[in-house]
């Protein structure tokens, strides 16, 4: 278990000071696949480097399994890192790289050899163990970096955007591979990414960060379907933000329609902003009837598995509706310029805190 207690990191001083982390509190459970998600500059990599020990925090403490490790040097922490560019030692072979951590720990030679063999098997790199790291592909380097970091069997594995250099197909493969490795090794993974889809696919829990703070922590479903803040909703997936009035556990949209909602803590009755995911909106051509919302179609965008309608509401608000495509299209979708009637799926409306 990792406990990060009001970790703050300020780079520089005076005018040039930059607060990369602002009093971040987070507890990561054992065996958890925990993801730090956010745009670049949000502080996610800084938090990772604090856990690894590459940077001391300006304030705050980091505990691992109950022990304060804030003052320990990187070499003294049972934590290993998979670096963004892999940082493989170019003057060593694949096996040499994997053995490095074990040798530094002073393990006997036969134990080093057997662990290296096991790691090579785990990442399916047995064939290439004598190659130099410059002689293997990006995906293979990625596997070696993983094996090298896993070999000493750390309590926590830190991964700094490890998949960002791979092409899409390989990235998808490695996402599944990483998940498998985490299950097989039972090691806590702390994964940093700016790719929301990657985060949703792989994580047990996600912390969404922005401006040096954690905005929300939750499992992928919670983060996607019940984002608490507008930033979280906007960063993850596509969003419609609508004006509404909250009263007694129900919201009434400015554009019409009243829906039952769960009200997050600290939100009082009155004017609120609500989130509606495009795929939770259904649209048909024609005039709106009871329980439907009237709209006009501005643009129709076909994107393979779905068609997105960009619509205008009578209030002037813009709404997107993403509708899954039927085989060869049934022609029932509204066309550009048509009036449309929108239906909102039950439970699809989320009240935002800001």
């Amino acid at each position: 278990m990792i406990e990060i207690e009001s970790a703050t990191k300020v780079f520089g001083t005076g005018e040039a000071a930059f607060r990369a982390l602002n009093a971040v509190n987070v507890t990561i459970a054992e065996n958890e696949f925990f993801t730090l998600l956010g745009p670049s500059g949000c502080g996610k990599t800084t938090l990772l480097r604090l856990i690894a020990g590459f940077e001391p925090p300006t304030m705050g403490a980091i505990k691992l399994a109950g022990d304060d490790i804030t003052r320990l040097r990187p070499a003294e922490r049972p934590v290993n890192t998979v670096f963004q560019n892999y940082a493989l030692f170019p003057h060593m072979s694949v096996a040499g790289n994997i053995a490095f951590g074990l040798e530094m720990l002073g393990k006997p030679k036969d134990e080093v050899d057997s662990t290296v063999a096991e790691m090579l098997r785990l990442v399916k790199m047995e064939e290439l163990k004598d190659r130099r790291t410059s002689e293997i592909s990006g995906g293979q380097q990625q596997r070696v970096a993983l094996a090298r970091a896993l070999a000493p069997h750390p309590k926590v594995l830190l991964l700094d955007e490890p998949l960002s250099a791979l092409d899409l197909k390989l990235r998808k493969e490695m996402q599944i591979e990483l998940k498998r490795l985490q299950h097989e090794t039972g090691i806590t993974f702390v994964f940093v990414t700016h790719d929301q889809e990657e985060a949703l696919t792989m994580s047990d829990r996600i912390a969404v960060m922005n401006g040096g703070e954690i905005l929300q922590i939750g499992n992928p479903k919670e983060i996607y379907e019940r984002p608490s803040a507008r930033f979280v909703a906007n960063f993850i997936g596509e969003s419609n933000f609508l004006d509404a009035t909250l009263k007694g556990g129900q919201v009434t949209l400015a554009a019409g329609g009243t829906f039952d909602v769960s009200v997050p803590d600290g939100v009082a009755d009155g004017a609120v902003s609500v989130l509606l995911r495009p795929e939770h909106v259904a649209a048909r051509a024609g005039a709106a009837q009871d329980g439907e919302i009237a709209a006009t179609v501005d643009t129709v965008v076909y994107s393979g598995e779905a068609t997105t309608l960009h619509l205008s509401l009578p209030t002037g608000e813009k709404v997107k509706a993403k509708i899954g495509n039927a085989p060869l299209g049934d022609g029932s979708l509204p066309k550009e310029g048509d009036s449309a009637a929108l239906t909102v799926a039950t439970g699809a409306i989320t009240v935002l805190r800001d």
Partner: protein, 310 residues
């Protein structure tokens, strides 16, 4: 209507290659001319001279002789014509070798940390530090060497200061010793070590150092196992740049070592000057060149084998 031209397969590529080769030759022509006239030519003259007989007032007589070469190792006694080992030459050669090695080691000890310091400065300040390293090149070598003399001579700055604070009663004899030569050469050749080492530290990916620490390597182990192998090209280049000119150094040993502590360069100069034995001078020069070549070849062999072992 214009007729479509047809080509043999590969014809255009061959033409392009030929044109490329021609322009390469043209571009390298000035360098080739200079190397031929200024290096290869004189070298051939030296080889020729080393097999001739010394003239009475310097120069050479056109008469074949192996004395130039044999005199490196043995000398004929002036009085009874017996052959004796040329101890003086051997001890000078030994001094040159050991002082050059010491100079190389000292420049490594001072140069590597300096290069590291500069390379780890913020990018905008590195230029300033590099500039400082190259400042000595602005002043003539002889002037700088005489400045060192001013520092270490018996009435020099160091001795006066030490006597003033009472650490010593009598000045320490530093001039005209091997220490003076080593000190001077370390000072003179230090930039030649700092610059290539800086270049390779600058290229070093510091995330690799972080990775080493992350994988439980302490400072020293990370240096030995990760940093050193990666900056080795710079260290090798620096060592060669310091060692080779040290072996043939002339000005520094002449000024700081005086007439007694000769190095190889001074010995050679002596043959062409007061010694009036040009063939011996030529043979000594070639000897020095051969020694350097053998050392370099051995070095390249060893390091390339190491690299192959990985």
């Amino acid at each position: 209507m214009a007729e479509t031209q047809t080509y043999q397969p590969g014809e255009l590529e061959a033409e392009a290659r030929a044109a490329d080769n021609r322009s390469r030759w043209l571009l390298s022509l000035p360098a080739v001319v200079i190397i031929t006239c200024a290096a290869a030519g004189p070298l051939l003259v030296m080889v020729l001279y080393s097999f001739l007989t010394p003239g009475d007032y310097g120069n050479v007589k056109w008469q074949f002789s192996l004395d130039g070469w044999t005199n490196i190792f043995v000398q004929r006694d002036i009085f009874d014509d017996t052959l004796i080992w040329a101890d003086a030459h051997l001890s000078i050669f030994w001094r040159s070798l050991s002082l050059s090695l010491i100079t190389t080691i000292l420049t490594l000890l001072f140069g590597v940390p300096t290069a590291w310091f500069i390379a780890t400065q913020p990018a905008n300040r590195r230029q300033f530090w590099l500039f400082l390293v190259t400042v000595p090149f602005w002043t003539n070598l002889l002037v700088r060497t005489i400045a060192i003399q001013e520092l270490i001579r018996s009435e020099g700055v160091i001795n006066l200061a030490l006597m003033k604070v009472g650490l010593i009663d009598e000045p320490i004899q530093m001039m005209f010793t091997d220490f003076a030569i080593g000190f001077g050469m370390t000072y003179v050749y230090l930039p030649l070590m700092v610059l290539p080492v800086y270049a390779s530290v600058d290229k070093l990916d510091f995330r690799l150092v972080e990775a080493a620490h992350d994988l439980y390597a302490g400072r020293w182990t990370a240096f030995r196992r990760v940093i050193l192998p990666l900056i080795k090209p710079g260290i090798i280049a620096g060592s060669i740049l310091v060692f080779i000119p040290s072996l043939g150094a002339y000005v520094t040993p002449r000024v700081l070592g005086g007439g007694k502590n000769l190095m190889f360069g001074n010995l050679i100069e002596l043959q062409f000057g007061a010694g009036r034995n040009w063939p011996l001078g030529a043979a000594l020069s070639l000897m020095l060149m051969l020694a350097v070549m053998v050392a370099l070849i051995w070095y390249v062999r060893v390091t390339s084998r190491e690299q192959a072992d990985g």
